[in-house]
């Protein structure tokens, strides 16, 4: 069978064996939960509760009037202990609602299963919005926005992204093995909402067994495709190119080529919401890395501080060097053990101190490897050099904004130049200038 793929990319050591045979287990409710108002792309939620208020499990505790936003909910019952700044996976402290659990896990009244078959697409969108569902692959883009394309865009295909191309992470793989019927139901809902006759679940070939299991659950107009195991195969644009040979135009969205892409975890969360009535208050997280004793896949409440997960996995092995939220390629290194798991946290990767090397970058030796691996076909070394020299106009002209920050260029660079770091700075400056 011919495997689908895209031009460029890298193949780092997969390291998925650490957790791929670990079933998802649920950890006890922690004494305290930290719910940041910003867990998604878009406007932050405004707190709807005050300190000392009592909240039920599944109760909405924050929302906003903006379109691109997502409400937040209490993951368990208890009292609001504090509303203030708290360490956040983004690296910057964020306004956070701290809940002291009362151990009763008392459900908010009115929460009950809903059968989506009886709802109109718009009612389903509203339900998904109210449930606080966002993309669980990492970027945490609000799902109701993603499935509300402007009327002039004709959508013909929904792709579920089960590529999980980041090394180490296996949570999507485990979900596909353990909850295939929910993933398929989620896809069914998405296809219904978007009025689409084609649903595709895309999986890298190193997870073939998951694809075989999903095949047994497929409904009408659905298919599984296998992709070459390569990073960043799970990037939306590369996925669409590989599967449908459509190229999302520069600066555009998958909508522009008639496609909506969602993570398999998001589909699963949508189906689960309709089956239980519960909003998005928990998620699966791969806790892994050479720096943790027993790497595992865990189901945790949103807001659980990361040290609880590490304790659950037997604690640190050797001195920890970096704790990364997400995978090793695009994940963010956090600075505090009380940083909470948020909706977009797919993994917690602990790298021991002995793993962390301090590279002294050499000059660019013009090997051209960053061009070879760049999935966007840019010239990373040139953009990065313009960025380093603060020549923002030229960095923009060379396509800095097309960079999706996959990090393949920095990974491959034999001179150990932090290319994507500089490009990121250029992007930031370009966007800051545009806002002015």
């Amino acid at each position: 069978m011919k495997l689908l793929t895209f031009r460029g990319g890298i193949h780092p050591s997969e390291k998925k064996d650490l957790t791929k045979s670990s079933p998802i287990t649920t950890i006890p409710i922690p004494e305290r939960l930290y719910i940041p108002v910003q867990q998604h792309t878009g406007a932050p939620a405004q707190p709807l509760v005050k300190v000392k208020d009592y909240v039920y499990k599944g109760q909405k505790i924050g929302d906003s009037q903006s379109f691109v936003t997502s409400p937040i909910h209490a993951p368990t019952s208890g009292n609001i202990r504090k509303i203030g700044l708290h360490p956040h996976p983004s690296g910057r402290p964020v306004l956070t609602i701290e809940i002291e659990s009362d151990g009763k896990d008392e459900l908010f009244p009115n929460i009950s299963p809903v059968s989506w078959e009886n709802l109109s697409p718009n009612e389903i969108r509203e339900k998904i919005r109210e449930a606080g569902i966002v993309g669980l692959g990492g970027a945490a883009f609000p799902t109701h926005v993603k499935i509300t394309p402007p009327p002039e865009k004709k959508i013909d295909t929904v792709i579920l992204n089960g590529a999980e191309c980041e090394p180490y992470l296996t949570i999507d793989y485990r979900l596909m093995l353990e909850k295939p019927e929910l993933i398929v139901e989620g896809l069914q809902i998405l296809m219904y909402v978007l009025g689409v006759k084609r649903g595709i679940i895309a999986i890298e070939e190193n997870k073939k067994d998951a694809g075989e299991i999903l095949k047994n659950h497929l409904k009408r107009d659905m298919e599984i495709v296998f992709l070459k195991t390569k990073y960043p195969q799970g990037s939306e644009k590369q996925l669409i190119k590989a599967i449908l040979d459509r190229e999302v135009p520069s600066g555009g969205l998958p909508l522009d080529v008639g496609v909506v892409v969602n993570n398999v975890g998001t589909a699963c969360a949508i189906a689960e919401h309709f089956r239980t009535g519960l909003p998005l208050i928990s998620r699966g997280v791969t806790v892994t890395g050479e720096g943790v004793k027993n790497p595992k896949n865990l189901n945790v409440l949103i807001g659980t501080p990361v040290f609880k997960l590490i304790e659950e996995c037997g604690g640190f092995l050797d001195a920890p060097g970096k704790i990364i939220f997400g995978g090793p390629m695009m994940g963010i290194a956090i600075y505090s053990l009380v940083t909470p798991i948020v909706k977009g946290t797919s993994g917690v990767l602990v790298l021991p101190r002995s793993f962390i090397k301090n590279h002294d970058p050499l000059s660019c030796v013009r090997c051209g490897r960053c061009l070879d691996v760049c999935p966007m076909n840019l010239i990373p070394t040139v953009i990065a050099e313009y960025a380093r020299l603060k020549n923002i106009e030229l960095a923009e002209k060379e396509g800095a904004l097309d960079c999706m920050e996959c990090g393949s260029c920095s990974y491959i660079c034999p001179s150990r130049r932090p290319l994507v770091h500089w490009i990121r700075i250029a992007k930031f400056e370009i966007l800051a200038k545009r806002r002015k």
Binding site: G315, M329, G331, S363, M376, G399, E405, R416, V420
Partner: protein
């Protein structure tokens, strides 16, 4: 669990194993066969030339780094060793030992370090070193000997001319057979004569994805086509002189060749064209050095003109 001191940095958090040092060590490895056979063909004295060249290159690099107040650890990128070795391989077998010392000074100090060290030079250091020596000491740089065979030999080498000079200047020597050209049993520079061993090293580097096949292939193909057009013997043109060493090890130097695959094709074609032009119309019997150097100069222009079409961008 108490707070721990954690390291933060931007992503990515993992890196490919192969850095510049490892690449340079692979280049050295790829050059070992032709180096050893060079010593075997032309006698143990050539080993001294090679050793002096490498050591002086490293010393010039170290002195430059000290003057520039750069970390001496930069020596560990092994690029000076590669330059010293490459320069030695382009020298005639019986040059006096001060020749490589002068050559590496020009290569390392004047061509590379003055422009900012590794990555900063726009000309191939070893080739500039050779070009300088050729123009400054033409008779020393064109005294050739017949192969003597054996690392240690008592027999006095007989002087001769290179096949290219014999052909071009119609000298009274007989031309070697294709087989001798292929294995390198011909007069020439220390490391340039054995096409087969250079090819093995070059294929290794292509396999390791260190050099781009496009450059040697387009270089050699261009020469073959031009040979036909100008009624020259293509096999003789390609196997004699420094074509293989140049095409696989000089024209593929990362720093001084284009970034894009298409740019590299242009580079190879241009270098092949210039090499033939110099051989046919120039005063020198050999054109590899200047052919590649001229293309080095054109490289920034090629890179400015040839850009890949970015993903989702307009088709050009």
């Amino acid at each position: 669990m108490e707070e721990k001191e954690l390291i933060v940095s931007t992503s990515p958090h993992i890196f490919a194993d192969e850095d510049v040092s490892k690449v340079m060590l692979n280049v050295i490895l790829a050059l070992i066969p032709t180096t050893l056979v060079g010593i075997y063909f032309f006698g143990i004295y050539t080993a001294y030339v090679i050793i002096v060249s490498i050591i002086s290159a490293v010393i010039w690099e170290a002195i430059s780094l000290l003057i520039r107040r750069k970390s001496i650890y930069t020596l560990m990128d092994f690029s000076a060793v590669v330059t010293g070795l490459l320069l030695a391989l382009t020298l005639p077998p019986r040059v006096p030992l001060w020749i490589p010392v002068v050559g590496t000074f020009v290569a390392i100090v004047l061509t590379k370090q003055i422009f900012g060290g590794i990555g900063g030079n726009f000309l191939n250091p070893a080739l500039v070193g050779r070009a300088f020596l050729l123009t400054s000491y033409p008779s020393l740089m064109t005294s050739w000997i017949n192969p003597v065979f054996g690392f240690i030999t008592q027999s006095t080498p007989t002087s001769t001319a290179t096949p290219l000079a014999i052909e071009k200047l119609k000298l009274p020597y007989s031309l070697p057979s294709y087989w001798d050209l292929f294995i390198g049993k011909i007069p020439g520079s220390i490391g340039e004569t054995s096409a087969i061993l250079i090819l093995i090293g070059g294929l290794w580097l292509i396999y390791k994805k260190i050099i781009d096949w496009r450059i040697p292939v387009s270089y050699i193909l261009t020469m073959i086509i031009l040979s036909f057009l100008f009624k020259k013997d293509p096999i003789f043109q390609v196997l004699s002189g420094g074509v293989f060493l140049g095409a696989f090890f000089m024209a593929t130097d990362w720093v001084t060749t284009p970034l894009t695959p298409f740019g590299r094709l242009i580079f190879g074609i241009g270098a092949g064209f210039l090499t033939m032009a110099i051989r046919i119309y120039g005063n020198y019997p050999e054109g590899v050095t200047y052919g590649i150097l001229v293309m080095n100069v054109l490289t920034p222009l090629i890179d400015r003109t040839i850009k890949p079409r970015k993903f989702g961008g307009v088709k050009k």
